[in-house]
Amino acid sequence: MVMRSRNQAMFDYPIRTAELAVLEIISASGSSIVQVGDRSEIDAKLRALAVQRQASHAEAGEVYFESYSVFDRPVPAIIEPVDEQTTVHVTTRNLQPRICVGCVEVIAVSSSSLILIGNGMNTRCESRVKHIRQYAGSKPTPPLGC
């Protein structure tokens, strides 16, 4: 029992290092992050109105974030622990000082996404996307489901 606790102390590394040989990324867009190294705070946000229509915006008018509720509705609340019974105490022990990865290949990173080679502390990402397709037609059709 004593031996075991001594071994635990010997192999306990407080912080692990990430080792990566090759990182291949073709595209990173739309409030996304590619980082090699540690980071404490991340707060990435993206709001997008994706309008596809058969007329220019000068002709068919502008679009506004304020018109659509998806951009101002609150995010779901995270239920915080209220007392000792519901609080979870996490203790972590690392037997190896590093995480080793040979090769990472990613085609695209987008919409407030994140590639992080290293340690992070607090990460918060939020993306809100609204799609609108407006086609010219001879007679108006009601939306599907009506």
Binding site: V88, L95, E105
Partner: protein, 81 residues
């Protein structure tokens, strides 16, 4: 509640990913707290077929955030964004 985690050896050969999108994370490393939110709205009424008319502006459209075409860097020819 106490939760004990023991991390043993972690060696990975290769990770091939097509895409990381809409508030997602690909991380090699340790972390404490992650909150990811994604809202994606494409309801049936998003498809409008008919005469191309301006979409109704919101209340107080003058002060609303629209595409910034006051500096002349907007492209009126582009049909999609």
């Amino acid at each position: 509640m106490n939760f004990h985690v023991t991390n043993h050896t972690l060696y990975v050969g290769k990770i091939e990913t097509l895409g990381v999108a809409s508030s997602s994370i690909l991380q090699i490393g340790d972390t404490q707290c992650i909150s990811l939110y994604s809202m994606f709205d494409t309801p049936p009424e998003s498809v409008i077929v008919g005469p191309v008319a301006p979409l109704s502006p919101p209340e107080g459209a003058e002060s609303a955030e629209g595409e910034d075409d006051r500096n002349g860097d907007a492209e009126p020819e582009s049909s999609d964004v």
